[in-house]
Assembly symmetry: C2
Homo-oligomer: 921 residues x 2
């Protein structure tokens, strides 16, 4: 290669180059240099320079030692794809200018046989996509430069090892030759030499390797291995652009919601080497402990090594504190840089560094990933340190991550061996003896024994067993199956849809392959991962530290969205209140109907032949319901409690139709006991009468209330009798009576009249006034679409987004999760499970329509959301933007919702002023 | 009573009257006079004067003899209710003025003892509400006037009979004394006299009756019977106003969609008497035959009688032609009036008349109700006669009524005795031998025997039996149950949900109370009324007269909305084409899967353990499907055919889960035949695997296509192979491939790719190009809400309003109709069954949103509606206004839709010009 034209591109004509040079002033800036204590870029230019490039520039400007280099912007990548994979005009010129600048800065030269410049070429998108795209190290080496490197370092083995590594990496990443081909040759040479490890090879072996690699590559691709450093560079840059659209990067982007047109930047940076002897090394560190959040330096390093050696895991790295002993000067400089970076970025940093012959270089800095506990502690402590504001602290913690802090979890120090894996349906972990029957679970629970309830699937009859079990494991059902929803509501861990287990209730055992687990055997389930283990594995308790409480209090100061809870018992209400709930948004009365001492009366009510019989049964249920409400109202004194009147279809309270049919067939076959047979047949007739093809769309909710108004009247009586009694005792009760499943305003008008009449009767009897409201759930598309009409009658709306999602999508929660929904999610047909994350595009439209139209006829309409979405951060954010007054979620999600609501307010403020009170929601 | 102040109201002060008089000029006109050949009102003032009042005025102006009188406007009724049931200022004055005018016109006087004026007081709303409100006759009579009447008529018996009748009617209607009290006294007097009939009573008896009536009334209401004619009048007017809000009027209005704030007018008219001897009489008539539409005078009359005598039915009236003999002059005058009225109103009239001592008076005229056959004939003939335009003719026929003409019906001359009544689920009538099994029905059908299939409910397995049966009777299910929908689709009569019958399939019989109907017994069902009769009752064939065809051709000229049909077989397609269908809007492929020679392969496909097995089964189904499409495409040559790919959940093709469970229990109890048991158990496992709680919201539609793309690929192949083959034969095929149940555009994108690839493969193999389109059903709220996204992929939308209604309301068609929907309809919670009549308020919003958003991304998007609503007139009108391109309905509803579409265009024109073609849909 002649020096005169070494900056002209091999394939380029000089005339064209001249034209480019003349046009330079008007050209867009595609390349940003950093080095020599000054950089053209800055940290805030992340979108243009990628995360890595922006931070390298920022560190350079901060005077932190960073090997110099330059960044090709993300816009180039986009232009490259728009331009049929060609470089945009002027890029070539700018790259050449910057290479020259790099050489001048370092006093080195590409391909020099005395002082050769080697560079790394790395991708760097706006957000980190770890391991998804390609990297080339040691670029610039060739037969001349290797000699220069050997001479300069006085270490031929190092130089040839660098060359060998480059051939391998460039051959694989840029030239597309399979990695295994290089490994084969390497193994051959090692075998010949009779050595096991790479670093046992001698200089001559390495030279042989380089020759063999090049020969093999030529055979594979039909061309010589490129030796011109500039050609190598161009090819490597293109390889990085191409890797933006490799299949694993595309998949990663889909999963992480990263737009494909963002593109990646390319960082070309001078190489530094941590493998140049005992005064060299490489390491990674966090400026605080990412696991606990403690304000200590945290990290590890390896002497005489490159990054890939750390990954290989052959030698054990030393903790960062060891560096203080081994290289006190470097340690001092490094920790000063840690402090500088943390103060500058005002966040805990995750850094990479290399020490080359006693000199420290920083290769990367970025905000460090951390556990929930660490996130909370770091955020709160940084506020105390004056580093960030409370508002910033609130935005630093991922609400979803808080879930980790709210349930017992397996001791992470214990290694587990799962025998099966299901859905992580409700977080936390639990151990206990296997039981297959809810009655047994309830009995064992009363005896103080720990049990895990194992069922094919659960139904409302299992509530009592679920309530006393430590955890629930089901073979069928999805993330919002009955088991999963109820378990999350109870804050109880649950693994659902664990299809690997075969439940044999008859023989009281389940099997996983050859493993048989019998009743009474101890198992452990991890509801945070879906794993099922044999035996008992120790757990650690939820960490509700003082920092956590403090952060929550800041959230409460900020947010405008209230947070309530879904609770059906005084226990749930108490738990939720401890977690900061401001009321009950959904108290489901049907759960109260399943208790064993009540069910007979419920069945009597259903089987009643006439109104009188039905009323007699209702009269027996009344005292129970009143007791329920007394407990809940007392617990929630001074806070609103939304009570939903009976919702599920009545057949849920009766034996299952097909089971009755089988029993009858058996009795008939046996030919005995005709009284029992007749009774069963009569029951079957009634069950058949109530049988529905699609009970979710059938005779339930207000449709029951309309056809059996006496049932709702009894419930209203129970509510109001409890409210009156407590009012007399001086306890403030704020009952909100909610009529479910309204689709037409007429349904609500009729039932409002029933409820008002009963409430008035109770208050007259008791001689006390209780202020109460009557509202409805908006859980059918028609209700949302006609919300203006419905709001004429309703004093509040609670969006039942579980049911609304079912009807808007036409998905049955009980069915789709086990059938096609997993397939839809795996194949990105749906991005998110709409039962977990509110579908803003479809269901969200109906929520917005409902709020707007409802307020058009009743401006002070109170609006909230109950159901699973109320505790999911992106859904909470949506609710805030849609202008709802509150969200309601299961007790264990209340802190998540509080934080999410605060973040929503910070991102889209809707409180105009906090002091005058004029615009408070 | 002194004459000087007889026009002052008894309860009124003169000073106030003076004030009224002064204010008169500025007063609103509340009262309209008619009489003496001139009226203040006209026919077009129906809203103000009510139908009766407006027409009395119009007839007066036409010079037709009408007893004079005046009309108090409907606005007064409204004001009366708004004003706490008080008369508005000035009304009293105007009534008095008009009474005076009436007296002057007739030369008679209220309460006169020589020439007394008697009046009738009748209600008259904008639309006729027959029998709903109150009437008082002979008002103005008292002890003086009766003498005057006796003197004037020289007929004391007549006078006292009039008095007696007045006391009775006024006492009942105005004073609120129970009718039976009068009847008791009448019976007493008759018993005393030893006579049976009222008209056998003598003058003295009648006088005694009047005395006794008055005494009784005084005792009942504690006041004297009012004798002042003006007081009588005021009270009678108030009674008419009050009757507007009596319970039966309110119910009638609700049923007939009449707003409560319309109010009724009150007509006060001089009495004429048809019971003044042999030269008197009364009658009703139609200007044409209301049953056949023939242009002949039609009606009957009774000599020496009043209207009430006709109703009483003691004497048989004579046909109107008899009048020609009996009173030729009167007949001549009457028929001249008929012609005058018909020419004037340009419609067939229904009139009432009275002849008083040889003088003819017309008491009412209005457009006459008529049968469908008459409506069509009259409309078409009136166009021929030049009386009305074609457009007017189209508006004269009620599309829904056409249904009568499109099915065989029971001979109306035969009197039937129903043993039970169910829902009128599919019109027409049929007789046949009872069978309880679809296979038997099919076999009998093949032998040419007529059978009625009787089932508790039908399922898709019954299709073959339903296809051959004459009619279907089910004990369960509603208007859109499987039986009803399929029957309507087949144009076969069906009585559904006939709960009075108990089907005992085991003993091959059904019972209704004590009646037992065994297999083979002949029954007749009337799908137009829901009635079930024993034995065979003769039917008459559909009347598709030339007039009907002609009217349809006019409809086709006018309408802009195309009409297609839902058809799954070539037979259906042929039938629909004969009825004028312009294509197939919905061809359901699943019906093709149920045929007995195919079902095994369908089951094989479902039970396949892997893709290869499944493909093998599909390969066997392919030729069948291709044959289906060959037949249909051939029949519909040159017209579009929308084929919906497989929609129902797969378990519908397998045995029922609970039946399998019972069979297994029985086999286990018997303890034998272990091979069969094992097989059943294996099948049950598979069925359990496919079992869903809410199949309507489960794994069906495109969700099947996404998870088993090979099924859809086979169907597309069958469609395209058939299309290619016919194209080669020179037959034009326009296939539209429809992907059902799309909720997210991604579903459609994936399946569109599958379909396009398969279509291309077939066309390449066959070496022929067929132009086809791919679209989707919009049948989920989410699809409508995200129609802009979906239209990026879909070339057409077909609104599946059956399913859309299910999800928008959260109603399962299979369930709600048997449970709460009838209650909702009976109690006016819902005005209409939303599965029969499109719910414009809720579901309609989604249709509009879908059309608008779909066209926002694809302006030339073709849009239509399939499903039950496509043949329902008000829904067709909605579709027209929503801008759809076509409606599709079952073959037998095609003519209804054509007429409804024409009316929609006439009411809301959307064709800007018919000639340039620029704006044709």
């Amino acid at each position: 290669m002649k020096k005169a034209n070494r900056y002209s591109w091999p394939s380029m004509k000089v005339t064209k180059l001249e034209i480019y040079r003349k046009g330079m002033k008007r050209m867009k800036k595609y390349v940003y240099f950093f080095g020599g204590g000054k950089a053209e870029g800055e940290a805030h230019m992340r979108n243009l320079l990628g995360g890595k490039g922006a931070n390298l520039a920022e560190m350079t400007n901060l005077g932190i030692p960073v090997p110099p280099g330059f960044t090709i912007t993300t816009e180039v990548c986009t232009a490259y794809y728009e331009n049929n994979e060609q470089w945009p005009e002027g890029l070539m010129e700018q790259v050449l200018e910057n290479v020259k600048k790099l050489e001048e800065t370092l006093g080195m030269e590409f391909g020099s046989n005395t002082n050769p410049l080697l560079v790394s070429v790395r991708s760097g998108a706006r957000v980190s996509m770890p391991g998804m795209m390609d990297t080339v190290l040691n670029l610039g080496i060739n037969d001349e430069a290797v000699e220069g490197l050997a001479k300069k370092t006085n270490n031929p083995r190092f130089a040839w090892d660098a060359y060998r590594r480059f051939c391998q990496m460039f051959g694989d990443v840029v030239l597309g030759v399979e990695h295994s081909k290089f490994e084969e040759i390497l193994q051959e040479v090692k075998d010949k030499r009779g050595v096991k490890l790479d670093n046992e090879l001698e200089v001559e072996d390495l030279k042989e390797l380089v020759q063999k690699y090049k020969a093999m590559v030529k055979e594979e691709i039909g061309q010589d291995f490129p030796t011109d450093p500039l050609e190598q560079l161009k090819m490597a840059i293109n390889a990085v652009f191409s890797s933006w659209n490799n299949p694993r990067a595309i998949t990663y982007r889909k999963i992480n919601d990263i737009p494909g047109d963002w593109g990646t930047a390319v960082n070309v940076q001078a190489m530094v080497f941590g493998n140049m002897g005992e005064n060299s090394g490489t390491g990674v560190a966090f400026t605080r402990d990412p696991s606990t959040g403690e304000n200590v330096y945290y990290g590890e390093y390896l002497r005489d090594a490159q990054g890939e050696d750390v990954v290989a895991g052959i030698r054990t790295p030393s903790p960062i504190s060891k560096l203080k002993e081994e290289m006190p000067e470097v340690y001092k400089e490094l920790t000063e840089i840690f402090d500088k970076l943390e103060n500058h970025y005002r966040d805990m940093q995750d850094v990479e560094f290399t020490i080359q012959q006693g000199k420290l270089y920083m290769l990367q800095t970025r905000s460090g990933k951390r556990t929930a506990a660490a996130a909370v502690r770091i955020a709160v402590e940084m506020v105390r340190e004056g580093l960030i504001t409370k508002e910033e602290a609130l935005l630093r913690v991922d609400p979803a991550q808080l879930d980790q802090l709210l349930h017992p979890r397996l001791d992470p120090s214990v290694k587990v061996e799962p025998i099966a894996k299901g859905l992580a349906a409700s977080p936390g972990a639990a151990s206990g003896a296997v039981v297959f029957d809810s009655d047994e679970a309830a009995e064992a629970g009363e005896r103080g024994e720990k049990v895990i309830l194992v069922r094919n699937e659960t139904s409302p009859d299992d509530i009592h067993g679920m309530a006393t079990a430590q955890g629930i494991l089901t073979a069928r059902g999805g993330m919002t199956s009955h088991a999963a929803v109820v378990a999350r509501g109870m804050g109880k861990c649950c693994v659902a849809g664990c299809e690997a287990i075969k439940v044999d209730e008859v023989n009281n055992q389940f099997t996983v392959g050859d493993i048989v687990v019998k009743k009474g055997d101890i198992i452990t389930i991890n509801g945070s991962t879906g794993e099922v283990m044999l035996g008992e594995i120790p757990t650690i308790a939820p960490e509700l530290s003082g920092d956590f409480q403090e952060l929550m209090s800041w959230a409460d100061e900020v947010r405008s969205l209230a947070v309530r809870t879904n609770a059906d018992t005084p226990q749930d209400a108490k738990q939720a209140k401890e977690f900061g709930a401001q009321g009950i948004g959904l108290c489901r009365t049907e759960h109260m109907f399943f208790a064993s001492e009540r069910l007979p009366f419920v069945q009597q009510m259903i089987l009643a032949e006439n109104k009188e019989e039905r009323q007699a049964a209702l009269d027996k249920l009344l005292p129970f319901q009143r007791e329920d409400f007394l407990g809940i109202f007392k617990e929630m004194a001074g806070m609103p409690v939304t009570v939903r009147l009976l919702d599920p279809p009545l057949h849920e309270f009766l034996p299952k139709r097909e089971e009755l049919m089988v029993e009858i067939a058996k009795l008939e076959a046996a030919g005995t006991n005709s009284a029992e047979l007749a009774e069963k047949k009569e029951l079957l007739a009634k069950v058949n009468n109530l049988h529905e093809m699609n009970p979710m769309l059938g005779h339930r909710g207000c449709r029951l209330g309309v056809t059996y108004p006496e049932v709702y009247a009894m419930q209203v009586r129970a509510i109001m009798e409890a409210a009156c009694q407590l009012t007399k005792e001086g306890i403030k009760v704020i009952p909100e009576i909610m009529i479910p499943l309204v689709g037409h305003v007429n349904e609500l008008s009729i039932l409002k009249e029933v409820a008002q009449a009963e409430a008035k009767a109770v208050m007259d009897e008791q001689g006390v006034e209780v202020s109460y409201t009557i509202g409805t759930m908006i859980e059918l598309p028609r209700a949302a679409l006609t919300a203006d009409e419905i709001a004429k009658e309703a004093e509040f709306f609670s969006f039942g987004t579980n049911d609304l999602t079912q009807t808007t999508f036409g998905f049955s929660r009980d069915d789709v999760e086990g059938k096609f929904l997993p397939y839809y999610l795996d194949n990105n047909i749906l991005e998110k499970n709409p039962f977990a994350v509110l579908d803003q595009e479809g269901v969200g439209q109906l929520v917005k329509i409902g709020v707007e139209r409802g307020r058009s006829t009743r401006p002070n309409l109170k609006t909230g959301i109950c159901g699973e979405h109320g505790g999911e951060p992106s859904s909470v954010d949506f609710c805030h933007r849609a202008g709802l007054d509150y969200v309601s979620c299961s007790p264990f999600r209340v802190p998540i919702a509080r934080l999410a609501a605060a973040q929503a307010e910070l991102n889209n403020p809707r409180k105009k002023c906090k002091t005058c009170g004029c615009c408070q929601n």
